[in-house]
Amino acid sequence: MMLQEAEKIYYFMKRDMISFSTYKTNMALMVLSALFGALSYAYLGSNAYMQSVLETYHMSLTAYLLIGMAFNTYIGQSLTLVQRTINPWSLEEVLVSPTGLGTFIVGSSAWGFIWSTVVVAIYLAVGSLAFGVVLSVNLAGTALVLALGIGTLTGFSIIGAGILILIKQGDPITWLIGMLTTVFGNVLFPPQVMPYQLQIISYFVPQYYFFTCIRLMMMGWSIQMVLPEILTLTLMCAILLPLGYFIYSWCLRTARKNGTLSWF
């Protein structure tokens, strides 16, 4: 009797393992996520951390983390929102309507960003009122950096959504960018705490420029003072948004041609 039940459990497990193994990309991404997660929290807890923060940004650890976490909401939205809304299983109904793809992408993302703004406001209000974080916001600069950051990350997200339409599960682009944000994106700790070889990677990650600029804008710096970083972010945005649109359109055309648009 016991053996029979054990055998049943084995077949449940085998069924799930075979099903899981058909999503190979997803499987690989989950393993790598664990490795990157461990790496980022190890740095967060390192001794060099506090000193480095204070030296680089002239702000308290609380202010550093607060601004990082608050604006990471936008980055998270930019990375996943488009993908959540332009998914293969709701696309068909929209594609048969006389509505352009651009309208659909912007329309599908709009509410998520409005909600993110509310979340950021809550973060900053709690930080100011409960923890005494002093902010001196450069509003125009913050808006500019935010727009560039959202544009850049949305570009990645659209690429991810396109790839998702083709491979259906486990989009590697969004995963990669999410992981790069955690470790190299200047969210929880500045890249300066890492070995020099790893710091270099940060300079190729748009989030590094976004979080550097947004922190300084929130502390009242002018746009001119961080012009090289803002120009770099502008360049990345100018490349990634049209590239994302192009790749998404190509993936969509391919899925339509292959008849796999609504597969999941």
Binding site: M17, W89, E92, E93, L95, S97, N258, S262
Partner: protein, 343 residues
């Protein structure tokens, strides 16, 4: 000038290329895949007149949904051309989309479960370009048309299967398009809801509103009850296209008998099928517990019947019921496709 033909297809072809798992059992969980091509629509020629209720009938996998998806611009054809309301489905997609309302066999997709019926239609009326000042009026019109007016403000997730299909139909009707592409609209509905939806499509949409309707189904009865003309699709090819009566005419010669038997093997069924005088035969398992099967034989003449009954006697096959019947559209379908609809 509005074209006389609402939908036309010339040599339309769609080929799907995919990789399928090898049939050989493997010890590894990483299975080998082999390339496969399927011609879903095969050099199809079709003309549907304006105002016509045209039924596209075919078994599962015949290419019905693929054809509908090509006509509503979701799938590009590999060869041939198609025009909807006079607009090319490849080069004039926006005008095609403005001319159609589409209902897919999986109607729940794209609908927002946490919104009520009204709010769902409000969203779709915006993306279908219904003018803002007419939106409320139009939404209430279509909700009344499909019989959901009193459920308009109930959450979609609380709708029954029938109500969900009706809302999907309401969505297709929102822009008041001249052409409706309805892909298996009665899928998942009970008998009563299914009948009422069919009557609504025939009486309200086709007869009163003079819409051109392309109605796909694999139910012969549905097509024969409501359609002006029927096209039979099999293996991506349009193998017949006529009025329901015209298609039944294929069966005018010969006799149709409907027989129920028990204790019959597949080999014995094949032996009957191969007999002289048996034109074709469909079989289906009616009661797997009792081993009861229904055989529908098309005989050259009634003179062939004793031979079949003699075979039952010799093989000790038990005859449960026997009926001589008028040929139906289903018989014509079986004759044309060489398959039963439920196979």
């Amino acid at each position: 000038m509005t074209p006389r033909v609402a939908i036309e297809a010339h040599d339309l072809t769609k080929i799907f290329k995919s990789k399928v798992r090898s049939l050989e059992p493997r010890s590894s969980i990483f299975e080998r895949k082999e390339p496969k091509t399927v011609t879903a629509v095969d050099h199809l020629n079709l003309e549907i007149k304006r105002g016509e209720l045209f039924g596209l009938l075919g078994p599962n996998g015949a290419g019905k949904t693929t054809l509908v998806k090509i006509l509503c611009t979701l799938l590009p054809p590999d060869e041939g051309t198609a025009y909807v309301n006079g607009f090319d489905v490849i080069h004039d997609q926006m005008n095609v989309k403005r001319s159609i309302g589409a209902l897919f066999s999986v109607g729940e997709r794209g609908v927002f479960w946490r919104l009520n019926g009204y709010r769902n239609l409000e969203f779709f009326s915006a993306i279908y370009n219904v003018p803002r000042r007419r939106r409320h009026e139009r939404i209430m019109e279509v909700l009344e048309l499909v019989g959901l007016k009193d459920k308009a403000f109930e959450l979609y997730q609380k709708y029954s299967g029938g109500m969900k299909r009706k809302l999907a139909l309401a969505r297709a009707l929102l822009p008041d398009p001249p052409i409706l592409l309805l892909d298996e609209p009665t899928t998942g509905l009970d008998v009563i809801s299914s009948r009422s939806l069919r009557e609504f499509i025939r009486n309200n949409l086709s007869r009163k509103a003079c819409k051109t309707v392309l109605y796909t189904t694999h139910y012969v009865e549905e097509a024969s009850q409501i359609c002006d003309r029927i096209g039979i699709l099999n293996g991506g090819k349009l193998i017949s296209c006529d009025t329901p009566e015209g298609i039944k005419g294929i069966m005018k010669k010969g006799e149709v008998v409907d027989i129920r038997v028990t204790a019959i093997t597949d080999a014995q069924i094949e032996a009957i099928r191969a007999m002289d005088g048996v034109v074709d035969m469909a079989s289906e398992v009616e009661d797997p517990v009792l081993g009861q099967r229904r055989l529908r034989l098309h005989l050259e003449s009634i003179d062939s019947l004793p031979m079949v009954l003699n075979f039952f006697f010799k093989e000790k096959i038990r005859l449960v019921d026997f009926r001589r019947e008028e040929p139906t559209l289903e018989d014509a379908f079986i004759r044309l496709t060489g398959t039963g609809l439920r196979e």
